[in-house]
Structures are given as structure tokens and as C-alpha cells.
Amino acid sequence: MKITIKVAGHAKEYISGGKSEITLDIDVPFTPNELIEKLGINKGLVSAITVGDTIKRWNEPITEEDIKKGITIISPVGGG
């Protein structure tokens, strides 16, 4: 399934070259860990993957319903 993921926070520069969105093909359901692996991102640059405002645990499935709510890669919080 073709999906678009948002990328938020200061680590955008390292994750997506500064872009706010990434589009990719991925089998649904998938977990945050699988998403990160598919994108080839360093997991250390990701604080969380959210569906809406809710954090998905790393091995928790993301479903088609979740995709409709919007998926975001959240950068690590940048040091208070």
C-alpha cells in the first residue's frame, strides 16, 4: 500500500533531508520497527512513531485505520 508519512522535529534534516513528508510502499499492517527498517532510517533519530497524538510501541501493528489518522515520525526532543 502506498502511504505518506509525516516527519516532524529538528531531526528532519537527518531523516528526510529536511522534507516534511515521505511516501513509500509498505505492506499493511506494519509495526514502527518495520517502518523504520523499510525507510532505512537510523532508529536513534526517531523518538516515536505516532498515530494522531498517540505513540505506537515499536512492535505494535499500524493498521489501515491508523493510517487514516495520520502517521508521524517524531524527532527526539531537542534538549529542553
Partner: protein, 612 residues
């Protein structure tokens, strides 16, 4: 006409009970902007030859030209001095509503001089500045005093207050505000306590400041607020604030654990933000005009009593949680947060000092006889609470620990290698043996170890935890951007977390002041302040130089024993090369002193030489 500023600073002599007015000049505005820029300017100009905690030692409390305005996150306020903890330059910012009140009262800032003969509350209502006896408040905790003063002066009064720790001159005492915000670092509370100022109460009627292009300013500010709320991680940020960092920090081997012995806390989940939000009654709280409140106010029951605390946020979860080995429940950390806030101590330094004490005890450096026969233990709230009280009241072992971890190791002649401090200030919440940029940031921060000058850790991760030819550049870039916010006195979280374009701040500053600021000009001003604060250290600390810019030996000699960063360490020879690169790129000599050429470039050579 100086737009964007009230144009005056109140110089309050506590001994004579007089108030004089310093004019804020256009030169000050153009060179130093405000906030920490004004603080550094004054410390250099008028504190030559002064030692902390003497009658000549001043405390500077400053707003900036964007404080208390429609700018998103404009509720910040900067307080600074020669630090009694380090002896060098120190400042600390506090969020809330105090800067708005100060500007509404018609003041850009305050300078507190000399010492009050008795405990006093300074009451400010517009032009009126009064000295009110505080003998009934002296000795009370910060929460109780703020509530009493709100009762006396009105709920619209904004208050800065110190606790018993500052009264007793514990060197890492903080100034508390708005029942949960602190100017925590460098012992700003200690200086206020030395002056016997229990509290400062501010009320302002507003309308005192004119902006050069008011409509344009408001329009840009509205756009900036909308941009913040449309950020893709806005909802996440508002929901979790900094509490979500605990998981990330552990997963990336950056979580201070048992006095920075290691960097991963087993079973950390019970002190992570997700657990806190899901388990407890947590409400959001923000500063003045903040569209993205990071504050999390937790209500919980502990030992049968109800508590409300703003927190714990990440630094407290790190230093009073992981650093003390506490992983039982976030309520344990929240309770210690409340105790520390009420006593008026910085949670970061307190957590680092207690962590040192526990390790020193377990290694036989601190004998049982000095701790009332107790065992000092990891993962033990009672150990932490016992030491906090001792520190705040300078009793027993507290007399030594209240001086900070550097002094404690010197006193005992042991434990230096795990005294987690730089320049005498305790390290905050990021274990850096796997993050060379972050280690450099801590080593070169201009107030002693503090993360908020340059948070370089994602850069470190992005390059595989290695030192690169660009590591020093990254740290320098961040050391100019981040403290710039402490000059404007606005929050940087809208930029760093929500991605607000930095150009907004140049537009806002230009519209507010009528001075044509570019972002580059502002960063140059920040670099100017950075070099000035560096010179303050050279002037006040004999022998200051390169040897003061190293992390603790633990970070250079002990590989991380466990967790994701197992085996990581940055040997001194590698750190030396990085430091050399940093100095060269800063235009400093091999001892880390700004060269005449650099000071000339920044337009401050004459100012420096006049007061050297």
C-alpha cells in the same frame, strides 16, 4: 525613542533601600539585545574584582525585547551573576509570567545590589518599588510562600521566591516561580538568598512599551503561532512534553544511570512519560503566550498525602530518577521533585550531587558516621530525601554536599573521577560517552556543564557516534542559536521541537525595535555574548583555560559497562583533537582564549580591554 524596550532597569540597593534607574541605551540594544546579553554586559562592566557572595556581588534579572509579547513562547526571563557554585559566569532562564509582569510594570530588568539587613520581599508595582519585611516568610518552603504572597498581593501578582536551601546558601539553590518553574542553574537562588531577598513580587498595569511597527509585529506573531499549531508533532509535543525522552534516551544509551556509571536504566518504563500520562492525573501548563505548553502538572498521592507538582520533566526524571537508580514508579521521582522544589534546590545539580554521594559512600569514601549511621542506597527515595534535607539545611554531610560535587570530591580527596561536573557545575541529563558532540557541548558550555547551550546528540547519532570534521562546527552553530533565545527572552522549544523558522525571530525583533535585524546579525550578537562570557571566566578564575574544558575522567577513561552504549568511551587524546578543532574554529588560541582579532571582529575589543 527606544522601541521594544521599557528603556529602564531598576538598580535596587538592598542595604540603603534605594532605587536608581539605569537607562537602556540603543548601544546596549544593538550590541547585546537583552536578557543574557544584558547580564553578561553588566557582569563584565561592573563586577571586576568581585567575588560571589560579597556585598559587591550583584544579581541581574533581565527581560528581552520580545518578552511578554505576542511572540510565541515569550514568557521567558533570564537571571545571572558571577556564580557562587563555579566562581565564573552564570545565568539561568525561567519560564512563566514574570517577564510579562516586569515589562507591564515598565522595567526591562532589575539589578540587586548589596545585602538587605533583614529578610525582605521586594514589591514592584509599576514605578513603585517597596521593601517589605519578610521575617514571617523566612524559613518557609517555596510553595507555601508563593501562595501566601498571592493571597496578599493578588492572583495577578507574579512572584519569584527562594526556599530554605538558598537562605542557607546551598550553592545550587534555585529561584522558583509560578508554583513549578525554576531558574535552576548556577546558584542564582543562592545569590538571592545571600542578599536576604525572600521574594520579588511584580505587578504591572501594562502599556509601558511601544513597538516600532506594532501592527506588523502582531501580524508576524499571529503567523508564527499558527505555524506552531500546524506543526506535525504539535499534538505529540503538547501531550508529552519532554517526558517522552526517557525511553529514547535509554534506547540510545544516553540516560544517566547511577551517577553516570552506565547509560541504561533497567525497567525504565515506570519512569517514562508514557506511563506517567497513562497512569496519573496530568494536566498541561504553559508559560505566557505559549501555543505549545510543555509543562505537565501531576497530581498524585504519596505516603497518604496528596501532592501536585509541575513535573517531573526530563531532566528531573534523568537526574533524580535514573541517576539515583530509581525505577520503581514515576511517583517516586515526582515526590522527590516536589521536595527539591519546595526546598529550593536545582533538581539537576541535586541529583548529580546525591548520585556522587551514594557512589562515594559505597566505595568507602563517605563513612557511615557522617550520615547518621545510614546506608546510602541506589533506588531508595529515603536516601535521596535524607540527603536533600541535609543539603538544604547544611547539616552534617550536607555542609559538604551543599558546596557541589566538585568541592565534595576535593574535601574527601577522592571520587574526583566520578564527580560529574564541568567547571564546578554538575552535568545534566545526557550521558555522553557515545556522543562526542554532546560531550564537547558540555565541556565548553559557558556556565559549566549544561545541555541547553548546545544539544548535539542527534548529530552524533546521525554520524554513527563518531567525531567528524564537522562535530565542532555543529556545536558552535548550536551554541550561537540556542542562547540567542535567552537574549530575546523567548522560549526556543517552538523552534527546536515544532520547527518554527528562525527567520520569524528576526522579523519580530525588527518590527518590535525598528532596528533592521537579520538572523545573521542576531547570531553574531549571540557569538559576541559567548565570547564575552568566556572572557569573564578568564578574568575571574586564575589559571582558567583549556584545562577547564574537559569532561570528568569517567567519560574519558571508563567504557560504558552496559546497555546500548556498552564499550563507548572517548579517550582524552581524541577529545583533545576535537577541542583543538573547536578552539581553532572559534578563533581562540590553544588555551581557549578569544584572540584580539576575534574580539575586534565582534566589536568588543575596547570594551574588553577597558575592564580586563
Amino acid at each position: 525613542m527606544l522601541y521594544g524596550y521599557a528603556g529602564k532597569i531598576a538598580r535596587i540597593n538592598l542595604k540603603n533601600r534605594t532605587v536608581k534607574v539605569d537607562e537602556v541605551t540603543e548601544e546596549m540594544a544593538r550590541n547585546w539585545i537583552g536578557g543574557r546579553g544584558f547580564i553578561a554586559y553588566y557582569v563584565w562592566k561592573e563586577q571586576k574584582g568581585v567575588k560571589p557572595l560579597t556585598p559587591e556581588h550583584n544579581l541581574y534579572l533581565m527581560t528581552g525585547p520580545l518578552s511578554g509579547t505576542e511572540t510565541p513562547g515569550s514568557g521567558k526571563f533570564d537571571i545571572g551573576h558571577l556564580s557562587p557554585l563555579t566562581g565564573g559566569y552564570g545565568d539561568s532562564n525561567v519560564g512563566g509570567k514574570i517577564s510579562k509582569a516586569m515589562r507591564d510594570a515598565g522595567w526591562d530588568g532589575l539589578i540587586l545590589e548589596d545585602i538587605s539587613p533583614e529578610p525582605v520581599v521586594i514589591y514592584i508595582e509599576d514605578d513603585k518599588i517597596e521593601f517589605v519585611d519578610a521575617s514571617d516568610l523566612w524559613g518557609k518552603g517555596t510553595f507555601e510562600v508563593e501562595e501566601i504572597l498571592k493571597e496578599r498581593y493578588g492572583q495577578n501578582a507574579e512572584i519569584l521566591v527562594i526556599g530554605p536551601a538558598a537562605e542557607n546558601l546551598a550553592k545550587f539553590s534555585m529561584i522558583h516561580h509560578d508554583l513549578g518553574r525554576q531558574a535552576g542553574r548556577t546558584g542564582v537562588g543562592t545569590t538571592m538568598g545571600f542578599k536576604k531577598v525572600k521574594a520579588i513580587v511584580v505587578k504591572g498595569s501594562g502599556g509601558k512599551i511601544q513597538y516600532a511597527r506594532d501592527e506588523e509585529f502582531k501580524k508576524i506573531a499571529r503567523e508564527a503561532i499558527v505555524a506552531c499549531t500546524k506543526s506535525d508533532n504539535y499534538q505529540f509535543w503538547v501531550k508529552y512534553g519532554t517526558t517522552s525522552v526517557v525511553q529514547w534516551s535509554n534506547e540510545n544509551g544516553a540516560f544517566p544511570t547511577r551517577n553516570f556509571f552506565t547509560s541504561y536504566l533497567e525497567n525504565y518504563e515506570k519512569i517514562d512519560g508514557r506511563y506517567m500520562i497513562e497512569t496519573y492525573d496530568v494536566k498541561h501548563k504553559g508559560c505566557y503566550n505559549c501555543p505549545s505548553p510543555c509543562g505537565k502538572v501531576m497530581r498524585f498521592t504519596y505516603r497518604g498525602k496528596e501532592y501536585v507538582v509541575e513535573g517531573p520533566e526530563y531532566e528531573t526524571l534523568a537526574l533524580m530518577g535514573g541517576n539515583l537508580g530509581i525505577n520503581t514508579d514515576v511517583a517516586d521521582v515526582a515526590y522527590l521533585n516536589w521536595v527539591t522544589d519546595n526546598l529550593g534546590l536545582d533538581t539537576i545539580s541535586a541529583g548529580a550531587v546525591i548520585g556522587w554521594a551514594i557512589e562515594a559512600f559505597q566505595k568507602g569514601i563517605i563513612p557511615k558516621s557522617m550520615v547518621d549511621g545510614r546506608e546510602l542506597k541506589w533506588n531508595d527515595v529515603e536516601t535521596a530525601e535524607y540527603l536533600l534535607e541535609k543539603i538544604a539545611y547544611r547539616e552534617g554531610i550536607g555542609k559538604i554536599l551543599a558546596e557541589g560535587v566538585k568541592y565534595a570530591a576535593e574535601f574527601f580527596g577522592a571520587g574526583h573521577e566520578f564527580a560529574m561536573q564541568v567547571k564546578g557545575q554538575e552535568i545534566s541529563g545526557y550521558e555522553s560517552r557515545w556522543a562526542p558532540g554532546m560531550m564537547l557541548a558540555y565541556a565548553t558550555a559557558d556556565i559549566g556543564a549544561h545541555h541547553n547551550r548546545a544539544w548535539a546528540i542527534t548529530y552524533d547519532i546521525s554520524v554513527g557516534h563518531k567525531i567528524t570534521p564537522e562535530t565542532a562546527d555543529k556545536v558552535i552553530e548550536l551554541q550561537h542559536i540556542r542562547p540567542m533565545f535567552d537574549m530575546l527572552t523567548t522560549c526556543r522549544l517552538q523552534w527546536v521541537e515544532l520547527g518554527l523558522d528562525l527567520e520569524y525571530y528576526a522579523k519580530l525583533l525588527s518590527a518590535a525595535t525598528g532596528i533592521d535585524w537579520t538572523l545573521q546579525d542576531m547570531l553574531k550578537a549571540s557569538e559576541r555574548v559567548w565570547n564575552l562570557t568566556r572572557m569573564i571566566w578568564f578574568r575571574h578564575k586564575p589559571g582558567f583555560g583549556r584545562s577547564w574544558d574537559y569532561p570528568p575522567k569517567r567519560w574519558m577513561e571508563e567504557p560504558v559497562p552496559s546497555g546500548p552504549a556498552k564499550g563507548a568511551v572517548i579517550p582524552k587524546e581524541d577529545f583533545d583533537k576535537l577541542l583543538d578543532d573547536y578552539y581553532a574554529k572559534r578563533g581562540w588560541d590553544k588555551n581557549g582564549k578569544p584572540t584580539k582579532e576575534k574580539l575586534q571582529e565582534l566589536g568588543i575589543l575596547e570594551f574588553i580591554e577597558e575592564n580586563m
